[in-house]
C-alpha cells in the first residue's frame, strides 16, 4: 500500500489476447501496488484441458510466463505484486515455469502462490454419486444428457484463497477459475483485512473489479462518443485506487491516452450485466443500483455508496461439452452489382450442397458491409461498392461440415465475375462448445493454496 493509504490495483489484460504491452506500461508509467491480469473465458478452459491431456505440464496461459520474464526486474524493484488467473487447469505447472524464470533472473526469495481446486472434471461422477445433481441451472436437465461429451468442469471459487496466498507473502499469485472481479477484490481483502461477511466492502471490491476487468473498456475503449477519445495509440489501462472503507477512484496513469469519465465508467458498469440489483458472485451479491459516480478530477471518477448482500451457499460450476462442429468462410464480391452477384453466389453454394445431398442443422448467410450487424434495423443500401459474402454451417457430423468448406473456392471461377478474397485455404470444421452451468454446495469444494519461495 502507498503512503497515502490507498491500494492501487490495475488491470493490464482484459482477456487472453489483449494488448501485449499494456501490463508492462502499467508497471513502468506510474505508481502501482498490484497488477491484475485476466486470461480465462469459458471457451479457454476446454482448450487448456485438452492441452493438459496431451502434456501434463501444459494447460495454463503460457503468455503470462513470458510477461513475467519481461517485467520481473521492474516489479521486484517497485514492490508490485501480480494476481492472474493464468493457471487455467494447471496452476501447479504454471508455478513451476514461473520458478524457472525467477531463478534465471536470480530472484531469490521471490514467493509464488497458486490457488487450485477449481478443476472438478475428474470429480463429476463422485459428486453425482454423493447427491450433487449438477442439473443445468437454466433448464433443469440432468447432466447425464451430456455426460459422455464433457470437456472441462471448473468452479468459480471465492476470492479468499487468493487473498490468503497474498497474506502469506506471495509476490505473484496464479489461480485457476476465479471470478474476473475477484482479481481486484482479493488484494483488497488481503490488504485491508475485509471479513467474509463484510458484504458492503466485498460488493465494493466486486464493483471495482467489474469496472476494470475488461482493461481499456473503462478508459475510452468501446466508448459511445469515440470522437472525444484522444491518444488511441497509447491508451491508458485502468487503475482502481481502493480505500479501506470500500470507496475508490477509477483512474489511469498520467500522460497516457484515453479518458476516464462518469460516462466511460457508467458504460462499463453495465457491460455484460444481468439483474443489476443481484450481481451474484461466490463472495457476495453486489447491488449495482446502489453505485454512485462523480468526476473527482481529470481522468478520475469517485465510486461510492455500494451495498452488498450475503453470498449464496453454492458455487457455480461451468461445464463445457462438445456440441457439434461448425465452419465459416467468406468471399469478396466487387461491383458493379456487388450485392446482386453476392446473392447469386450464396444461392449457387447452397444449391450445389443440396444437390450433393447435404443438409445441415444450421446454416447462415451474411453480407458484410450490408446486414451482418444491424440487418433488420437498417435498410440495405441501394448500391454498395463491394460486399463480403460470409457463409457458415453447424452440424453434428464433422465430415459434412468439412464438405461445406470445399464448396467456397469454386465460386471464384464458377460464379459471377469479380469474386475474390479467397485466402487462407478451405474453412475447416472446428468444435462447437456447449456450456452447462450448475451449482455445487460450497463445502464440497476445497481450494488448495500453495506458496513457494524461490531458492
Amino acid at each position: 500500500m502507498s503512503d497515502d493509504g490507498v491500494l492501487r490495483i490495475a488491470n493490464g489484460q482484459g482477456f487472453w489476447g489483449d494488448s501485449v504491452d499494456a501490463p508492462a506500461r502499467l508497471v513502468e508509467e506510474g505508481p502501482l501496488d498490484v497488477l491484475t491480469l485476466d486470461y480465462l473465458a469459458e471457451v479457454t478452459m476446454s482448450i487448456l484441458q485438452k492441452q493438459k491431456e496431451r502434456d501434463p505440464e501444459r494447460g495454463y496461459a503460457t503468455d503470462f510466463v513470458d510477461l513475467i520474464d519481461r517485467i520481473l526486474p521492474a516489479i521486484r524493484a517497485r514492490g508490485i505484486r501480480v494476481v492472474a488467473n493464468a493457471g487455467g487447469v494447471n496452476p501447479g505447472a504454471c508455478r513451476r515455469r514461473l520458478i524457472d524464470v525467477a531463478r534465471r533472473h536470480g530472484a531469490k526469495g521471490l514467493r509464488i502462490g497458486t490457488v487450485a481446486g477449481d478443476d472438478n472434471l475428474h470429480r463429476l461422477d463422485e459428486l453425482i454419486a454423493s447427491g450433487v445433481s449438477l442439473a443445468n441451472m437454466d433448464d433443469g436437465r440432468p447432466l447425464r444428457d451430456i455426460r459422455d461429451r464433457v470437456l472441462s468442469a471448473n468452479v468459480y471459487v471465492s476470492s479468499f484463497p487468493v487473498a490468503e496466498a497474498l497474506s502469506r507473502g506471495a509476490d505473484i499469485v496464479v489461480s485457476g477459475r476465479s471470478t474476473d472481479p475477484g482479481l481486484v477484490l482479493s488484494p483488497a481483502i488481503a490488504e485491508f483485512g475485509w471479513r467474509a461477511d463484510a458484504w458492503n466492502l466485498l460488493a465494493a471490491g466486486t464493483v471495482a473489479g467489474h469496472i476494470i476487468e475488461c482493461g481499456a473498456q473503462c478508459t475510452g475503449g468501446n466508448f459511445s462518443r469515440w470522437w472525444e477519445v484522444e491518444g488511441w495509440d497509447h491508451l491508458g489501462y485502468p487503475i482502481v485506487e481502493m480505500r479501506p472503507d470500500g470507496t475508490f477512484d477509477v483512474t489511469k496513469h498520467d500522460a497516457t491516452g484515453g479518458l476516464v469519465s462518469v460516462d466511460s465508467v457508467a458504460e462499463q458498469l453495465l457491460y455484460e450485466m444481468g439483474d443489476p440489483a443481484r450481481y451474484v458472485t461466490p463472495d457476495c451479491i453486489a447491488d449495482f443500483t446502489s453505485v454512485t459516480l462523480r468526476q473527482a478530477g481529470p481522468d478520475r471518477v469517485r465510486v461510492e455508496g455500494i451495498r452488498g448482500g450475503p453470498a449464496t451457499d453454492s458455487y457455480k460450476v461451468s461445464i463445457s461439452y462438445l456440441a457439434g462442429y461448425k465452419a465459416v468462410g467468406q468471399l469478396t464480391v466487387s461491383g458493379p452489382d456487388a450485392l446482386a452477384k453476392a446473392r447469386v453466389c450464396a444461392d449457387a453454394l447452397w444449391g450445389r450442397l443440396a444437390r450433393a445431398g447435404l443438409r445441415f442443422e444450421e446454416k447462415l448467410t451474411e453480407f458484410l458491409g450490408v446486414d451482418s450487424c444491424h440487418g433488420s434495423i437498417t435498410p440495405a443500401p441501394a448500391v454498395v461498392n463491394e460486399v463480403v459474402l460470409r457463409v457458415g454451417v453447424k452440424d453434428g457430423r464433422r465430415d459434412a461440415v468439412d464438405r461445406f468448406g470445399k464448396e467456397l473456392a469454386p465460386l471464384v471461377t464458377s460464379g459471377p465475375p469479380g469474386v475474390t478474397g479467397f485466402a487462407g485455404g478451405r474453412p475447416k470444421a472446428t468444435e462447437v462448445l456447449g456450456f452447462w452451468p450448475a451449482l455445487i454446495p460450497k463445502d464440497r469444494v476445497r481450494p488448495e493454496v500453495v506458496v513457494e519461495e524461490v531458492s
Binding site: E42, V43, D138, Q217, N222, F223, S224, R225, W226, W227, E228, D263, A266, E267, Q268, L269, L270, Y271, E272, M273, G274, D275, P276, A277, F288, T289, S290, V291, T292, L293, G305, A323, G324, K326, V328, E362, K363, L364, E366, L368, S372, C373, H374, G375, S376, I377, T378, R390, G392, V393, K394, E431, V432, L433, G434, F435
Partner: protein, 125 residues
C-alpha cells in the same frame, strides 16, 4: 411530439449473456431518462431489433446511473462458440439500439454532447 435518434439522448454498451446479449442505455440527463423510461419498453426495443432478437426482452432500471439495462434473449444465434454470426457476442447491439427513433415532446431539446460525431467526415448521427 417530434422524433429524434436515441444517439442524441443517451449512450450505450452491449455484450453477451449466454445465448443473448445485454444493452445498457444511459441517458445524458434526468428528463431524458424519464422519456426513455416511457418510450424504451421491452416491446418497443424488441420491435426495433426485428428478427435479430428471437426471444423475449427484459428491462431493468438503474435510476442511480439514469440507465436502463435490456436483456435480449436468443439474439446471438446460439451464443459463444455455438454462433455462426459475425457479431457472435452482440458487441454491436448497443450501436444498433442507438439508431432507434424516439418520440419526444416538442419542447425537449437533447444535450448537444451526443451528436458531435455527425460533424466528422462520414458521420451520420
Amino acid at each position: 411530439m417530434s422524433k429524434i435518434r436515441l444517439h442524441a439522448m443517451a449512450h450505450a454498451r452491449s455484450g453477451d449473456k449466454g445465448d443473448g446479449s445485454n444493452v445498457g442505455v444511459i441517458a445524458y440527463e434526468a428528463r431524458g431518462y424519464e422519456i426513455l423510461r416511457t418510450r424504451l419498453t421491452p416491446e418497443s426495443v424488441k420491435a426495433h431489433f426485428g428478427d435479430i432478437v428471437r426471444g423475449a426482452v427484459e428491462r431493468y432500471e438503474l435510476p442511480n446511473l439514469l440507465a436502463l439495462n435490456f436483456i435480449l434473449h436468443d439474439s446471438l444465434g446460439g451464443g459463444g462458440s455455438a454462433s455462426l454470426k459475425n457479431d457472435a457476442q452482440g458487441k454491436t447491439h448497443a450501436m444498433g439500439l442507438l439508431r432507434m427513433e424516439i418520440e419526444v415532446p416538442d419542447d425537449y431539446a437533447p444535450p448537444r454532447v451526443g451528436t458531435r460525431g455527425a460533424k466528422l467526415e462520414g458521420g451520420e448521427l
